[in-house]
């Protein structure tokens, strides 16, 4: 395994004040095991700013009611707020129209929706779906289920020892049988940023639609779906400072129109009789039943928050943290980074000689440092690197160099406790 290359330093953006932003996150003020909380499990879920907490709170206190179906005032207010959130999501991704934004429970549901609805209509026996070796389970299993139902099969593009996609090999997998390319934008286990724009261009030249799993990308990288030219883009609200149970499926309008619905029920119909149902227009065709109204409104507030802080400034700040942490890790003997791609975002996955990640996690927790240990829902990645699990620190806009220092001090404590 190669040593980690130092990550180049980005210039900090003037006006980005991490200490001021931290004030917006009440949860960060607490102590854990008597130590100030150092929250570095952001790739699992991020903390929520007051703006998000208050947006949900205000909905329940002031205008809670069902949407799209009432003439009364509260229902109109709720509908407006929910649809404004959709418009915010459309602007955030630079979609052509809010019609292309389907609200879902999260990235997992979005991928399942596409696999079920698009897959059912388009995928047949002998067809192929191309994935990469660094997908999250949620971008593997729905496609596997589709293959079981249809007789299609998965093709999986390899990665190198740094955790980078082997692009030339990848291209060879995309052929006349390929019906879908599904690729993670930023790997949650490795931090690698995939060249999704090039992937989309290559696939679309061959008329293969592309789904991009942006769950780990949107909090760290500016995304423009028109520029990427992808067909589907999915993310979860809770990883971008929004509520759990909220999320977005972006789909190209023509494709969404051609797809059959995912679930049936209220809201997704125009007329129903026992003989025939006509489906509602986009995006409501894919939103059966009462949605997570508070969650959608909260997600809108989260996207506003991120936009106000500035994604470029956030990215530069987090990049600096990653570079700082990467350098610190290389100074500690017995530590090895898993995932050393040149293009990386916000994720520091590592293993320690002689100490299992689970033990690292317990000792760090004792020092107030919250990280994730395990396979990160990416067991094929663990197999690729011949490790059962890793310890993973992941950064958000509110993390500081002091957080990295606390992480490294706790890592040294773990070494001490284990005598390695």
């Amino acid at each position: 395994m190669k040593m980690a290359e130092p990550v180049p330093l980005h210039k900090p953006v003037p006006g980005f004040d991490v200490y001021r932003l931290r004030e917006d996150f009440p949860i960060l003020r607490q102590r854990v095991h008597g130590k100030p909380l150092v929250y570095l499990d952001n790739a699992a879920t991020s903390q929520k700013p007051l703006a998000v907490i208050e947006a949900e709170d205000r909905y329940y206190r002031e205008y809670n009611s069902n949407i799209h179906r009432g003439v009364h005032t509260l229902s109109q207010q709720a509908t407006d707020a929910y649809e404004q959130a959709r418009a915010k999501a459309a602007r955030f991704l630079n979609a052509r129209s809010p019609k292309e934004i389907v609200f879902v429970r999260g990235a997992t549901e979005a991928i399942n929706l596409v696999a079920a609805a698009f897959g059912r209509a388009r995928v047949k026996e002998g067809d192929e779906i191309v994935l990469t070796a660094m997908e999250h389970h949620s971008n593997i299993v729905p496609w596997q289920m589709l293959c079981e139902q249809t007789g299609a099969r998965l093709r999986v593009a390899s990665i190198n020892d740094d955790g980078e996609l082997l692009f030339e090999e990848y291209k060879k997998l995309i052929g006349p049988r390929t019906k879908m390319v599904a690729v993670v934008h930023v790997s949650n286990a490795l931090g690698s940023i995939n060249p999704v724009k090039e992937i989309v261009r290559y696939a679309r030249e061959r008329e293969v639609p592309v789904l991009v799993d942006g769950a780990q990308a949107v909090p760290h990288v500016k995304v423009d779906v028109q520029d990427l030219d992808c067909d589907f883009y999915v993310f979860s609200g809770h990883k971008i400072y929004g509520p759990t149970g909220s999320g977005v499926l972006y789909g190209r309008e023509a494709l969404l129109k051609a797809m059959p619905p995912y679930q049936g029920g209220g809201d997704m119909i125009l007329t129903v009789s026992f003989e025939k149902t006509t489906y509602n227009e986009l995006p409501y065709k894919f939103e059966a039943g009462t949605p997570n109204i508070a969650g959608g409104i909260g997600l809108g507030a989260a996207l506003d928050y991120v936009t106000a802080a500035g994604l470029d400034a956030i990215a530069a700040h987090e990049h600096e943290l990653l570079a700082y942490a990467t350098a610190a890790v290389s100074e500690v003997s017995g530590l090895r980074l898993i995932g050393t791609a040149k293009e990386k975002a916000s994720i520091l996955s590592f293993v320690m000689e002689g100490v299992h990640p689970h033990d690292i996690g317990t000792i760090l927790d004792h020092e107030g440092v919250a990280i994730r240990t395990g396979h990160h829902c990416a067991m094929p990645v663990m197999d690729r690197f011949h490790v059962p699990a890793t310890a993973r620190a992941s950064f958000a806009l509110y993390n500081t160099k002091e957080d990295v220092d606390a992480l490294m001090a706790a890592v040294r404590t773990a070494k001490e406790v284990f005598g390695v």
């Binding site: 100490v355 299992h356 990640p357 689970h358 033990d359 317990t362 000792i363 004792h366 240990t373 395990g374 396979h375 067991m379 663990m382 059962p388 699990a389 406790v417 284990f418 005598g419």
Partner: protein, 148 residues
């Protein structure tokens, strides 16, 4: 740090570094595999049982310090015990690592070094994986045991 030291006692490090009875067993008459999907810990338990007595027991696998030490200590403790005694030990051990009350620890012997686990609910499954797998082996349950 104090309850950390209680969790990670010297005996645990010793068994983690040099696990006892850490090998396969060609002539085993009971075996089972256990898996903790949360942390990826895997263990396989082998037993040779004659006339209701555990003549030999060994394990293979990979895991954290707690699960490795627990498996190692378990194999040491079980040799020469009757199946009834083994089940009883499991029960007592389970109570020790999960219970709010300090259970009657008589007969647990060295296994008592794992009592610190009680303060770390997230680690109980690490300590009990080998025992659940033992239970499956003795009941000839051929599915992989999962802690989830």
């Amino acid at each position: 740090m104090s309850d950390l030291r209680e969790l990670y006692q010297e005996v645990i490090f010793d068994h983690n570094r040099k696990p006892r009875n850490f090998h396969g067993m060609a002539n085993a008459n009971h075996a089972a595999e256990g898996y903790n999907p949360l942390c990826g810990d895997k263990v396989k338990i082998y037993l040779k049982v004659d006339n209701g007595v555990i003549g030999d027991v060994s394990f293979e696998g990979s895991g954290c310090a707690i699960s490795t030490a627990s498996a190692s200590l378990m194999t040491e403790t079980l040799k020469g015990r009757t199946l009834l005694e083994a089940e009883k030990l499991f029960e007592t051990f389970h109570t020790m690592v999960t219970g709010p009350e300090v259970a009657h620890l008589e007969n647990l012997g060295k296994l008592e070094v794992l009592c610190g686990v009680r303060e770390f609910p997230a680690r109980v499954k690490c300590a009990t994986l080998a025992w659940h797998t033992l239970h499956a082996a003795l009941h000839d349950d051929h599915h992989t045991v999962s802690t989830e």
